[in-house]
């Protein structure tokens, strides 16, 4: 673990803007068991898309939940837009691995939920939710309940629910993990196209290396538990202007994939 390869400055100080997310030695110790996070250093620039990958059980979701203010940490310093993380920020949206749709609400009602909590009036939230569902290709399924939707459709409803509040921080926890390989790629494609009109910051946790390279500007590799950042890769494929087919055909894509794969693989042998 002594050979830390961090190709770029971990603080990512490229512009003059303060980092959107700044973590310094964020740790989580639990009594009687192996520490979960041994000190995470990470800076995410405003407007940057960052993906976290790592072996399963390494604490990447735990770290994400900390950023979302859903989980406390034991030491270190973590700020989101300059202040300590807080659940329910009006400018952030969080998507779980499972869609977490409310089964008693139809698609429209589920997408409206966050707006309803914010006190947006009925006509306005109906209009926005309809628009958001149309964007994810579900204009004809507004009044279907989750039980009447396939996994892929449910995940699209969840995506619409996440984006409907026009967040500046997008925090995604393995958003497509429950989907089959083909649906997952189409969802990545959809997310990529939706992100073209998104100027905020995105932090995504995934175990799918291809997904990380596809969606992110930088890929951060977490080591095994107790976890720290072992490597950071600048993707630089211009994903925001291209489609998935092109991206995957790019030789740089496979080089990155292999490098990250080896990074994680190396940790498995420890």
């Amino acid at each position: 673990m002594n050979a830390m390869t961090i190709p770029t400055d971990f603080r990512g100080n490229k512009g003059t803007m303060p980092p959107a997310i700044l973590a310094e030695q964020v740790s989580l110790r639990v009594g009687g068991a192996k520490d979960i996070l041994a000190g995470i250093d990470l800076a995410v620039r405003d407007g940057e898309f960052v993906a976290i990958v790592g072996p399963s059980g390494c604490g990447k979701t735990t770290f994400l939940n900390m950023v979302a203010g859903l989980q406390p940490f034991t030491s270190g310093c973590l700020t989101v837009a300059g202040s300590s993380p807080k659940a329910g920020r009006r400018d952030s949206a969080y998507a779980l691995a499972r869609d977490a749709l409310l089964p008693w609400r139809d698609a429209l009602g589920n997408v409206e939920l966050a707006l309803q909590v914010r006190g947006v009036d009925k006509d306005e939230r109906r209009r926005k939710a309809t628009e958001a569902l149309a964007k994810v290709g579900l204009a004809d399924a507004l009044h279907r309940h989750p039980a009447q939707l396939s996994q892929g459709m449910r995940q699209r409803v969840a995506l619409a629910r996440t984006l409907v509040t026009e967040p500046r921080f997008l925090i995604l926890d393995e958003p497509f993990a429950a989907l089959d390989a083909q649906t997952r790629i189409r969802m990545q494609e959809l997310l990529l196209s939706l992100l073209k009109q998104f100027s905020g910051t995105m932090l995504i946790v995934t175990h799918d290396i291809a997904e990380a390279i596809t969606l992110a500007d930088r890929v951060v590799v977490f080591g095994p538990r107790p976890s720290r950042v072992t490597a950071i890769y600048e993707v630089g494929l211009g994903a925001r202007e291209r489609n998935i087919g092109e991206l995957r055909a790019d030789p740089q894509f496979s080089r990155l994939f292999e490098a990250i794969w080896n990074d994680i693989e190396k940790d498995f042998e420890l």
Partner: protein, 277 residues
């Protein structure tokens, strides 16, 4: 880059021809089972296994069923009494039970304090209270209502509490991440999730209410189905006894169906979840 999807996914199932045929088959089986039961009943007395004085006869019951609907000794006044008791007891008992469930849900300390008392009270066979209620409230409606309330209150208290305290970690996370306050969390997440459990409790309570009314009348009353059943049994009017039981079953079934009709909209999503799960 256009992203297009085809939405060819499962809807609420409509009845196909095959399902309609199997529904018809199920009804044929039901009718056959009732016929089989009546046949065995008749055979038992024809072959001398039982004395028809004690078990009556299918055709006598059939005749008595229609006789009881009109004529000088028709059952409607007793049915009316029992129904009024049932409805009043059901409304008071379930209302109070749901309210108590919500209060206990809101206060963990209170919940912990009364939990053993609820278990103890719930394990008491409530019908044993009937003679006491006769003593306190006399032979009228009040005693029966009290008995029903004592039955239904605890059913609704426990089902309401169970419905409200179903843990769902994903919904918890979602509620917190969208910044729902305590009131919104309860209103948008916890109450709707509890509805199917509470409705199932209400259905059970309706059956219990009938039970309480009839049992209360049997123990001591001036009117009602229970009083009439006691009188018929004492007079060895078994056919009329059976006929009244059949009518009671029909009325109770209709009552449950009416309630299902009104609550179906509240629980449709739940039925669909289970159907697909």
């Amino acid at each position: 880059m256009s992203t297009s999807f085809t939405n060819t996914e499962p809807g609420f199932r409509s009845m196909s021809g095959m399902q309609r045929r199997s529904a018809a088959r199920i009804w044929i089986i039901r009718v056959l089972l009732v016929g089989l039961f009546a046949g065995a009943w008749k055979l038992a007395s024809v072959l001398g296994f039982f004395n028809p004085i004690f078990i009556g006869t299918p055709e006598g019951t059939f005749q008595a069923f229609f006789d009881q609907l009109h004529g000088p000794s028709n059952v409607w006044k007793d049915i009316w009494y029992t129904s009024v008791e049932t409805i009043i007891g059901f409304v008071i008992g379930s209302g109070a039970g749901i309210l108590a469930g919500v209060i206990l849900f809101r206060s963990a300390a209170l919940r912990e304090a009364v939990a053993p008392l609820v278990v103890a009270a719930n394990s008491l066979p409530r019908v044993a209270l009937a003679p006491l209620f006769v003593l306190w409230f006399g032979l009228g409606i009040t005693g029966k209502v009290a008995l029903i309330v004592s039955l239904v209150f605890f059913v609704m208290l426990t089902t309401t509490l169970a419905g409200l305290t179903q843990p769902n970690r994903d919904h918890e996370f979602l509620a917190r991440s969208i910044g729902a306050d305590k009131r919104q969390h309860i209103l948008y997440f916890i109450f709707p999730a509890a509805v199917p459990t509470i409705v199932a409790g209400l259905e059970l309570s309706l059956t219990y209410s009938f039970l309480g009314a009839v049992a209360g009348e049997i123990v001591g009353g001036s009117f009602g189905v229970g009083v009439r059943l006691t009188a018929l049994a004492n007079a060895f009017e078994i056919n009329r006894f059976m006929a009244l039981l059949v009518l009671l079953v029909i009325i109770a079934t209709i009552a449950v169906q009416i309630m299902r009709y009104f609550t179906a909209g509240l629980t449709r999503w739940h039925a669909a979840e289970r159907g697909n799960g």
